[in-house]
Amino acid sequence: MSDDALLAVRGLSIRVRAGRELKTVVDSISFAMGSERVALVGESGSGKSVTARALLGLLRKPLEAQAERMQFAGRDLRTLSSAQWSRLRGSGLALVVQDPRHALNPVLRVGHQLEESLRIHQRLAAAERRRRIAEMLDAVGLSARRVQDLYPHQLSGGMGQRVMLAMMLINGPRLLIADEPTSALDAQLRDQVLELMSTLVADRRMGLLLISHDLPQVARYCDRVLVMYRGRIVDESAASQLAHSRHPYTRTLWACRPSAATYGTELPVLADWSEAVSAGASP
């Protein structure tokens, strides 16, 4: 784990307190990433989303995080005050969530919301703000003239996710964390949004941590993949090498996706691997 990493995490554990019991949902994970595109892949309950929230300082009770090390661009995230977190979120680290219609303010026009996030982090003249908003909307493939006066409910799912992306990138963060950014979209739109996100991040030399349950899909847009299962990172691989992964869980995730080519065949399922785990045979 090099010191010049953009994000460095060592021994991150997340627990949830239920009455007197303390349940571990993330069990001492470690990883580091630079200005690259990394996918964090796992299924429901693997701990991938709470990991994202911990990296953004967004965990709330009854969840609590503990880490030996959690550094972003040289800063220790474990000791930030809530004011410091507020400054860092948006300008250093940004989060895109699953459904933009829940994340955007329903009673403010799109242009107003973009301007608000600029005001919070930067001191700019009004004309400059307008210029940047138009430029940013253009970068995500939207026309400022058409979109900035709309309210969130007037946006389609794909447009909403583009607006969200514009809002998150407008302050030039160094790391974008995207939590299932396309699961609420129609299949045709998913590739478009992932492609756009991947391109924008590469152009701006940012880091991208893309969280998803769909391994084959995100692998196309990332350099590296971390696979989570039941709170642990069980496999790590270059995206180009995934088809050759030897880990049984990764292999199932890779192969269980249906397609016209699997017609008439039985899809591989996890049963064997998870039985092995509950029997204590695996890590």
Partner: protein, 231 residues
């Protein structure tokens, strides 16, 4: 032989004084024994079509022949049709009563149809969808998403349907759980000799499961895909 024959089917929604066509003079034939897919973007009318075929939406015009019986608009299903056509919804959490045990949920279709039910029958139904009979006494919130969808499929199978309608049955599930449910659908289709109509926005799911499919757009069938045309 055709399991479903639809001629010039129209469904209109009226609200705010404006009238909107959800289905526009749609024609469709589904052959007995096949798995037929309906795909298209949100709002194309695919779910509305399924709800007409299930007898849930009865406000339609045109001709619908189901299992060789002519349907009447605005009329509820009667007689054997009520057993022979069953439906599985996208979100089993919303379609299973939260305060009823799994056993009660599975007995309900037998009870309302006046068929003798028993605990053994419930256990057999659970085993058929690869669930442990011990789950019978649990409540829906105590099951995982994949287990709940299996229960919803088991409930639909209780009445030995001839036609099973599925509305996005796997889109709320993880990929590996989706794989289990797709495998299960392929198995029960053979053991029960059913015709399946599957609505999905995911062309990969349609491509994996279906013998033929229709692409819908703006309330009409835009294109019919034979097996060899699926990609």
């Amino acid at each position: 032989m055709n399991c479903i024959e639809v001629r010039r089917l129209s469904v209109r929604l009226s609200g705010n004084g404006a009238e909107q066509h959800v289905l526009r003079a749609l024609d469709l034939e589904v052959r007995t024994g096949e798995i037929f897919g309906l795909m298209g973007q949100s709002g194309c009318g695919k779910s509305t079509l399924l709800r007409v075929l299930a007898g849930v939406n009865r406000q339609w015009q045109g001709q619908v022949r189901l299992l060789e019986r002519e349907l009447m608009p605005r009329r509820r299903f009667t007689g054997a049709l009520r057993r022979e056509v069953q439906m599985v919804f996208q979100d089993p959490y919303a379609s299973l009563h939260p305060l009823h045990t799994i056993e009660r949920a599975l007995r309900e279709p037998l009870r309302v149809n006046g068929i003798a039910d028993s605990r053994a029958r419930v256990h057999q139904a659970l085993e058929e969808v690869r669930l442990a009979p011990s789950l019978a006494q649990r409540y829906p919130h105590e099951l995982s998403g994949g287990q709940r969808q299996r229960v919803a499929i088991a409930r639909a199978l209780m009445l030995r349907p001839v036609l099973l309608l599925l509305d996005e049955p796997t889109s709320a599930l993880d990929l590996s759980v989706q794989a289990e449910v797709l495998n299960l659908l392929n198995q029960v289709r053979v053991t029960h000799r059913m015709t399946l109509v599957l609505v999905s926005h995911d062309r990969d799911v349609i491509g994996h499961l279906c013998d033929r499919a229709a692409v819908m757009r703006a309330g009409r069938i835009e294109r019919l895909l034979e097996r060899t045309e699926m990609r």
